[in-house]
Symmetry: C2
Subunit: 306 residues, 2 copies
Amino acid sequence: MKSYVKVSAPASIANFGPGFDTFGMALEEPRDVIELTLDVYETEIETVPDYSIPTKKNAAFAAANAIAWKNRVNSPFHMKITKGVRPGSGIGSSAASSVGAALAMAVAMDYEAKDEEIIQASSLGEKMASGSAHIDNVTASLLGGFTIVSSRNPVDVISIPVERLPKFDIVVTLPDVVLETRKSRSVLPRQVPLTDAVENISYCSTIVHSMLDRNIEKVGKYLNDAVVLPYRKQLMPWYDRVMKAATGAGAIGFSVSGAGPAVFAICIENARKVAAEMEKAFKAAGFKSQSIITKPGKGAEVLTVK
Amino acid sequence: MKSYVKVSAPASIANFGPGFDTFGMALEEPRDVIELTLDVYETEIETVPDYSIPTKKNAAFAAANAIAWKNRVNSPFHMKITKGVRPGSGIGSSAASSVGAALAMAVAMDYEAKDEEIIQASSLGEKMASGSAHIDNVTASLLGGFTIVSSRNPVDVISIPVERLPKFDIVVTLPDVVLETRKSRSVLPRQVPLTDAVENISYCSTIVHSMLDRNIEKVGKYLNDAVVLPYRKQLMPWYDRVMKAATGAGAIGFSVSGAGPAVFAICIENARKVAAEMEKAFKAAGFKSQSIITKPGKGAEVLTVK
């Protein structure tokens, strides 16, 4: 047993265009930092800055506890979560905290957890946060690079490490509006046209090939979604305007990050200009927004063990 | 202009598990051989052996004519099609003839056709043969290896050449029963559950990655289909029995070839045993069948130009 473990886990883009509940992309920035201390009197979770996340029984708590229970340990712990990833923005905030918490607990217990176990534990946190135990964000946040969920039950995942990906910038723009994943999921239909499903099958297959072929132009070209986006766009009336601004400024691909409201653009150059134009478009639609200029990044990392 | 061109074009497996209308795999064997002669008095198409394919206005005729019209040439031609690929069996018979015919006509006219043009011309033949201008078989037959249809309109396709694929055998078993593509398509629903569409998105993404990763075990494991097969299986009551026989004999993956009735199994070893057991299972279900033991192959080839 260790008494103190510090890890970091990145924000991530789920779906990444056509890969609903399947694709994920870890971002170099922002990251959550989780500090776990075991020798304490009472379990407590502290979030910095205070985003009004429940301080007990939140997603990170559920993920850490799942690992603890697996090891039949029920010891009080103190967890400090320094949130780099803004909650509710659509870039995997709860996933980053959950992955960091589960990984920190495993390391603290000297438990060599398989990736699948960390993902499964973290998905309990996702369920708590959004009502759905999807694993696309947690997979990306844990493994880094571009990730594919091959199977949900049992969990089976693939990561294309960041070194094997083409080089590109990602501009993520977060509007000042809350869109709960729970709500974003509620507008999805139970059935979709077969022809739309086939479109996404083509897009996804092409994107996986293009990632491994380091053809970022083609990734951008096929960053479409016929299956989910048409329904979700009704919750994002700004979508078309912001997309037009991004591509007009030189972005080679554009989509929603996860369940939104964040959107992201892929750029080879002009990232600053794309960010500025996306913010302008949000402003014209009545929303303030902030952009992050980043790129594909590594997964969760253990920073300190004592 | 050339007076004589001889080309060959391979059989192919469309869909290849989860990739409905998207994936294709060219087979090393069998192949159709197309001989085109231009300096003739009257257009005639001869098929050897005579499978009672219409000798005028068939799929190959439509494909060759589309290329001729594109060049504003309307000259009579003689075409001899030596059918290696049995029609109506589900391994891209009309596609092989159409691709061979279109390619032969382009070569005869000294026309450097783009792949997309040959595919588009050949898809007219597919439409004539099956009522649907799907391009998965023609893409595989033209380009060889494992192919992905990225977009249908405009046509945009990818080929992973056979040299980059993992090594494996393919056992194709053709039962003595006719199942028209037209009929196979008619049982498909217009809408499918979103969850099933997501399953296929996962399977397809995993298969593309595994092909490029040369991980044939994983290709076999994810050769599933939640979107089309459940509906088509009603036309193939033998399906589960034959699959069980194949996997029991050591096959690592199994699915329907295109719209059926042919089925195929992926093997690393034991291909002969798998073929024998699949034939036995068909027999037990009341159908004679023949197997072809082959592997991924090259696309259409120009053999002779005079």
